[in-house]
């Protein structure tokens, strides 16, 4: 499996040189979003995501978490403001360059969004097929991933025959299979039992240690407290609270990414 190099190399370079600031991977500056002519669902949202960091996005229902994630995974353009992603202006990005950016993102949707006519195996393999990975190189990692999320024996099952928790695990496996630069998860542990939730969180943590920036939207305080060194983005009525400025100017790590 190919591993994308751009951001990862930058990250490792910066991690090796502790005196250099981390290069930003995503930057939001005074971003606002409204649907149609309604009031803004997101207002003046400004933050920066750095490579190899673990972020939790919290807030009450209707606070704008899913809208913010939609902007992050490039399914929506903001009404105003500036978004830079991987060093490029994501707002004026030509349409034909969007797929390249999206392949660097892994997304776990709140409603899973599995492809109904595809088996669990084919759903997990989808990002690799989209990226043009050969079938020979797909079979093993997908099978391993399905084994890891405990669905090795359900590889031929279609989403309609899977339970909510199983569908969520397939969705997570699909999001992480291509080892994205940014993993975005919307309530990823909402439908799984506590043991599986911790196991999935450990998967996210492992990916984070390998350099993937992780953004998890959740209400689960227990989940938030289980990841050390994570940063919390709290949304309230469409506004992002950053009283300490940690989201704009995160505390410098003492060692390589993910390692305290």
């Amino acid at each position: 499996m190919k591993r994308k190099t751009g951001i990862t190399c930058q990250f490792h370079d910066s991690a090796a040189s502790m005196n250099q600031p981390d290069p930003e991977i995503v930057h939001f500056d005074n971003v606002g979003l409204r649907y149609g002519t309604d009031r803004e669902v997101l207002s003046d949202v400004s933050f920066t995501l750095y490579p190899g960091r673990f972020y939790f996005l919290t807030g009450a229902s209707g606070a704008g978490k899913t809208s913010l994630l939609k902007l992050l995974y490039l399914s929506q353009r903001p009404s105003r403001g500036l978004i830079r992603m991987f060093g490029t202006d994501a707002i004026t990005l030509p349409r034909d360059r969007l797929p390249g950016f999206r392949r660097r993102l892994g997304v776990v949707f709140q409603d899973f969004r599995l492809v109904p006519h595809l088996s669990a195996f084919d759903n997990v393999a989808l990002p690799l097929r989209v990226a043009g990975v050969s079938e020979r190189d797909i079979a093993r990692p997908v099978a391993d991933m399905l084994d890891w999320v405990g669905l090795g024996d359900r590889r031929h099952a279609r989403p309609a025959t899977l339970s909510g928790g199983e569908q969520q695990r397939v969705a997570i496996a699909r999001a992480v299979i291509a080892r994205p630069d940014i993993l975005i998860a919307d309530e990823p542990t909402g439908n799984v039992d506590p043991d599986m939730a911790i196991k999935l969180l450990r998967l996210f943590e492992s990916m984070n240690r390998l350099g993937t920036t992780v953004v998890v939207a959740t209400h689960d305080l227990h989940l938030i407290s289980s990841i050390q060194d994570s940063l919390i983005m709290r949304l309230d009525k469409g506004r992002l609270h950053d009283p300490t400025g940690a989201l704009r100017y995160p505390p410098r790590r003492s060692g390589p990414a993910g390692q305290p």
């Binding site: 034909d96 392949r103 393999a125 990226a131 050969s134 025959t161």
Partner: protein, 324 residues
């Protein structure tokens, strides 16, 4: 899509037209294996192959008719191109014969004349038989039928050449009247040309109808798979990857329809050909199709398939451009 939920996914991309699967290996319909697995086999509107079959069948018949008419017109034109009829219109039989002989001799010595032949009395009788009855011309005194000379010129019978011929014959046969044979058939040629244009117009209309049918089917298929397309987009799928899946399915449907349509069209041509052959008329006998015509007709399903695939591709790409 109707397969059991637990069935292994190795069986697709399936097609209900397996015999036409070869079409997906052609450049315009080729799909990478990975691309083919992005979407299910896109089922265009169920009757799509039948719609295309009907369009192709009608196009084949229209094209064959246009080509046969063109061949008949060309054959008649080339036959009559250098044809000139000299009539000696004189009531007195002996003088008429003398003038006819003199005119024939003059024509045979004319360098612009390839051949000249006096039409025999039996042939003249046959010509007037429908109007005047059996062997009416035999009584030379009672019915002064003009003496006829059938002349073939080297090249086309232009007005200038006819004028030169008139001047030459004026001295030896003052009663001679000279007419280009092609001039008599000008209205027929015009009617045939009009029919050819009509056939071309029909073919253009059928092609347009095919394009609109494919556009509607593509939009319908896009609507049915909108959720999946959005997911594939979110995972980094490109418009071209998605369009390839649609054009592949369209290629299979159009190829199946094309083959069926060609067969139906050929049957119709054979039936029409037999009917016209039974007429036994000189003009319809010349309305035959050559090997190049058959090649052109055989190419109609291929052109139809390419047109359908291109239409599907362009309409899908246009629709996808509206998504982010």
């Amino acid at each position: 899509m109707n397969a059991p939920a637990d069935e292994p996914a190795t069986r697709w991309p399936a097609t209900k037209w397996p015999a036409t699967k070869w079409i997906t290996r052609l450049p315009f319909a080729r799909t990478r294996e990975a691309d083919a697995r992005l979407l299910p086999v896109v089922q265009f509107a169920g009757p799509m192959p039948w719609v295309i079959a009907i369009m192709i069948a009608l196009t084949v018949v229209a094209a064959a008719s246009a080509l046969a008419l063109r061949n008949a017109a060309q054959s008649a034109r080339s036959e009559l191109e250098g044809g000139v009829t000299v009539q000696i219109v004189f009531a007195e039989p002996d003088a008429r014969n003398r003038q006819a002989d003199a005119a024939l001799a003059a024509l045979q010595h004319d360098g612009a004349v390839r051949s000249a032949r006096r039409v025999a009395q039996d042939e003249l009788n046959t010509l007037v038989e429908p109007w005047l009855g059996t062997r009416a011309g035999d009584d030379l005194d009672a019915l002064p039928i003009p003496a006829l000379i059938d002349v073939r010129l080297d090249g086309t019978a232009t007005p200038a050449r006819l004028a030169a011929l008139r001047t030459a014959l004026q001295k030896v046969a003052p009663s001679a009247r000279i007419d280009a044979q092609a001039a008599w058939l000008v209205p027929v040629f015009r009617a045939m040309a009009a029919l050819q244009w009509l056939a071309a117009g029909l073919i253009a209309l059928l092609a347009s109808a095919t394009v609109f049918a494919v556009l509607l089917a593509s939009r319908n298929a896009l609507g049915n798979h909108r959720d999946t397309i959005e997911i594939v987009h979110m995972l980094g799928g490109t418009d071209h990857q998605i369009a390839r899946v649609f054009q592949r399915s369209m290629a299979i449907d159009a190829a199946a329809g094309g083959v069926l349509g060609l067969l139906a069209g050929l049957i119709a041509i054979a039936a029409l050909g037999n009917q016209f052959a039974a007429l036994g008329s000189g003009m319809t006998a010349a309305a035959v199709l050559g090997w190049s015509d058959w090649l052109l007709i055989a190419g109609i399903p291929v052109l139809g398939t390419v047109l359908s695939v291109l239409t599907a591709r362009l309409s899908v790409l246009a629709a996808l451009r509206r998504l982010l």
